[in-house]
Subunit: 326 residues, 2 copies
């Protein structure tokens, strides 16, 4: 019966989450009974989409939910063997027992790092892939804008657009991220919105307008993009991080979509699961060829999970934010 | 060489257009030369979409543009005969000469009033038809909300949804219009947003949520609808009358489209011209069967064209606003 530590939400954040909104709880997890496995989480994921769930959706005073990658350490379940890697939604804890529901066995690619399966080659990358190609219906050579382009989703979206021969503008809020996007990812234009107001910077960076805006931000970024959308442009809306902490995010010029006949569509990765096989083949190839680069910020230990979440909201990560649990 | 009177825009309105923004000019129109026709306009159309063009698009100190239905009174053009009815974009004037470009001969349906070709059976009705069925991808029996449901476009959209077996909620801002929607059009629920705040009224009127919101308003109506959209809901955005006079129209909860994976799409009627034949057959049948009812507000004489436009913005029309010119 291993000891496990887990993170509980104890107060609903007002605005930016704070350390006091979370607490670390030590608990005992039973051994696996018949039909069960005991899983030790190795890595857990921290994502912007977790923020709205802190306001509504995530129960208080229980272990929080979130994506994780674990290893089976005891098995009395016919479908799982000790040593199997399993993707699960039971992050924010070190150990758990399961009857196998909600666990997906992961066949890790030996030529790639394990953690890449939690971002570029996982749901994060798939969200970028399907959002851009399926929801955004991207055509080769189009004009593309990606916000939070150095983030886990944005960086993949921007690089897929480059692979498809597009002119790609990315925005970010830090000089080191802007440098990475320019020097390593080689975007056509990079905007640091903390240095230049997004509206003017985007106008300067998009002389041929925008066909597809991959939106992770909403608010002022979406307003700036709506001024630049070409006729029949598309805006896959993946995130609205501008509003996650404030609880609102005004858009004042949405009527622009009428004159340019623009489509906006909110989406989540499960909207296009039929593309998952294509995605895995394409992305594994791009990663091995170095066509998709990535950055990771990995904090160590479950006690740092709240810091990871808060840091993500403050933009203190580079690329995918993970917490190493074991 | 007939005398013609025409309306010029002389100042760009701030907010609601005022009489002083327009002037009536008397002019002489030449007789038709070889290859030309002389047209006398019989009716002209006044539409909400004209408002943004007053701010940008419509030149000052020339005859304004707008949909009209005229009759050929002189012809030296092989394709037109005296007496032909011609749809044109040269409203706001009594006479004009043309080389035939931009004129569309109208074969008026003898079983229907002439004016119906300028709304329910014209581009107004087609905008409702394609917006609802093509852009909105309406399915039989869905939950539908239409704003400005007593208006020229809204009333057609609402009635097509009823024909398709949907549960239909309509909003309007006047008691007489609400009564018409309830008693004549027989919508399932009618909201008078001047009596009950739209947010609460829409929540009460849509116990099963909304699958398709046909948006003519934007602003607070769109915010209220975004709170009620069902998963994979669709919002054909036809107009944003809430913002036409103020120049902006905030939407504070657009991030809702992510969780419900909602699509918004701005459109104009020319986006689906391939459906025009289907539309004319369907709509002529529905009008003759009394399945689509309509209201008209017809002001008399070119001098009243500014009043018609201002009255439309103030909601003083019932149904389609027209000006009879001859």
């Amino acid at each position: 019966m291993p000891k496990s530590r887990e993170i509980h939400l104890v107060a609903r954040p007002k605005g930016l989450p704070a350390q006091d909104d979370f607490t670390l709880v030590e608990t005992s997890v039973p051994d696996a009974a018949d039909g069960q496995v005991l899983v030790e989480n190795r890595y857990m994921s921290v994502d912007p989409a977790m923020r709205p769930r802190l306001t509504a959706g995530q129960d208080l005073n229980v272990a929080m939910m979130g994506g994780a990658l674990g290893k089976v350490v005891q098995s009395k379940h016919p479908d799982f063997a000790v040593g199997d890697l399993v993707s699960n939604r039971l992050g924010f804890r070190e150990f758990f027992v399961s009857d196998g529901k909600g666990l997906t066995k992961l066949a890790a690619d030996p030529d790639l790092s394990l953690t890449v399966h939690m971002h570029a080659l996982g749901m994060t990358g798939f969200t970028a892939y399907g959002g851009l190609l399926h929801i955004g219906a991207l055509k080769d050579g189009e004009q593309v804008f990606v916000s939070t382009a150095a983030g886990a989703v944005g960086s993949v979206a921007a690089q897929i657009a480059k692979i498809k021969g597009c002119y790609v503008v990315g925005s970010t809020g830090a000089a080191d991220k802007a440098a990475w996007l320019k020097d390593e990812v080689k975007l056509d234009a990079v905007i640091n919105y903390k240095e230049t107001p997004i509206r003017q910077a985007l106008e300067d960076a998009t002389p041929k307008g925008i066909d597809v805006y991959f939106d992770n931000v909403g608010g002022d970024h979406l307003e700036a993009a709506l001024r630049r959308m070409n006729t029949l442009g598309r805006v896959p809306v993946c995130g609205f991080i501008s509003g996650y902490n404030s609880g609102h995010s005004n858009v004042s010029n949405l009527s622009n979509i009428i004159y340019s006949r623009v489509m906006l569509r909110g989406f989540v990765g499960t909207d296009f699961m039929h593309l998952y096989g294509d995605f895995q083949r394409d992305m594994a190839g791009w990663l091995k060829d170095g066509k998709v680069k990535y950055q990771e910020t990995i904090l160590d230990g479950i006690a740092n999970a709240p810091s990871a979440l808060i840091g993500l909201m403050e933009g203190r990560n580079s690329g995918k934010m993970l917490v190493k649990l074991a």
